[in-house]
């Protein structure tokens, strides 16, 4: 039972990878990529979790209270904000490519036109 978070994270990673490989639409591909990224958030937070511990915010609790790990939370929260901007970059690449090739199917866009 204690393996469940890691199992779910691994499952999400491979389901997202399956979506990326078999995608027929670049927008669908970008969202599957964000699913893969969210699997890493689950792994990070699951590593930092302690039983019967509270959030690492010392407002109203004693300074020696048992808290979860703050380092993985710091890594994850910046990651979430950055990932959406990178997804926007991928989507703008898609929009630009649609303007030239008139399709968003990865298999129809074969070679770079000369």
């Amino acid at each position: 039972m204690s393996y469940l978070p890691f199992a779910v994270a691994g499952w999400l990673f491979f389901v997202g990878l399956y979506g990326v490989v078999t995608s027929r639409n670049y927008i669908h591909l970008t969202v599957c990529l964000t699913v893969m990224q969210s699997s890493t958030y689950v792994v990070l937070l699951a590593i930092g979790y302690r039983d019967k511990a509270t959030a690492p915010i010392f407002v109203g609790i004693s300074r020696t209270a048992r808290t979860v790990d703050p380092v993985v939370q710091a890594l994850t929260l910046t990651d979430i904000v950055v990932s959406v901007v990178v997804a926007a970059l991928l989507l703008s690449l898609t929009m630009d490519m649609f303007g030239r090739a008139k399709t968003v199917d990865p298999d129809e866009v074969r070679e770079l036109s000369s």
Binding site: S2, Y3, L4, P5, F6, A7, A9, G10, F13, F14, L17, Y18, V21, T22, V43, A46, I47, G48, Y49, R50, D51, A55, P56, I57, F58, V59, R63, T64, T67, V68, D69, P70, V71, V72, Q73, A74, L75, L77, T78, D79, V81, V82, V85, V86, A88, L89, S92, L93, M95, D96, G99, D107
Partner: protein
């Protein structure tokens, strides 16, 4: 590579890769039995050394401030990439469409909620190192207030509220301000991004040393990058409106 060979490669190698990944994940400590000394040390040290009650923000902007610098520059580069990609076939600004929301109830909601959202974003950014929040979250909510102005109001009001040179200047100030605070520590003989100022009073806005400055630099940069992003996105939408008429 063709679709069939791509799927064939995936079907052949994914089970092996998955087996390795799941076996590796099984080698981690059990869920709930976290035992690394670094996190425990930071939770003990941050309220004492820096007088900040939000240890996660202290970690983001002080103990792991260098990683946040890298993340901010990813944000900066991505916003610049979007602007480069979507800006080339844009015509002059005088032919902006007059696109406004017709419904009165939606406009009233927008008028009421835009100042609330901006205030919420400012509060999240300002009290980020005391209660949950921080520069990153507050910056996105600030940009969200501007989105609300566009979605429940007029396109021209949105354009008037976010002039592009000012937003680009704000983004540069945010990213550069972070580096300047770090360099100030370097100039005074300490390592880069060392916390220079005194800790202050625990639980008030005057705490954390250089954390408030880095926090606000990050908030300004995230808000400006998001506004630039949405601006490109709204321009594309306005372009599609114009071609429809």
């Amino acid at each position: 590579m063709s679709r069939r060979s791509r799927i064939g490669l995936f079907a052949a190698t994914a089970p092996i890769f998955a087996a390795l990944v799941f076996w590796g994940l099984a080698g981690l400590p059990d869920f709930g039995h976290y035992n690394h000394p670094y996190g425990k040390l930071l939770s003990r040290a941050a309220p004492v050394d820096r007088h900040t009650s939000n240890v996660v923000s202290a970690t983001t902007f002080d103990y792991r401030g260098f990683d946040t610098l890298g993340e901010e520059f990813i944000l900066f580069a991505s916003a610049m990439g979007v602007a480069l990609l979507l800006r080339d076939v844009r015509d002059v600004e005088s032919r902006r469409p007059y696109d406004r929301v017709e419904d009165d109830a939606v406009q009233l909601l927008g008028i009421l909620m835009v100042p609330v959202t901006v205030l919420l974003g400012l509060w999240l950014a300002a009290y980020g190192y005391i209660t949950p929040g921080g520069g990153f979250q507050g910056g996105v909510v600030l940009a969200g207030g501007l989105v609300l102005l566009w979605a429940a109001g007029r396109y021209r009001a949105y354009r008037a509220a976010s002039p592009i040179p000012l937003v680009e200047l704000a983004e540069g100030v945010g990213a550069g301000g972070y580096v300047v605070v770090g360099l100030a520590a370097l100039v005074s003989g300490a390592p880069f991004l060392q916390n220079l100022f005194g800790p202050g009073h625990f639980g008030t806005l005057l705490s954390g040393g250089s954390i408030p400055f880095l926090n606000w630099a990050a908030a300004i940069e995230v808000a400006a990058a998001n506004v630039l992003l949405y601006n490109e996105v709204f321009e594309e939408y306005a372009l599609s409106l114009r071609s429809r008429r």
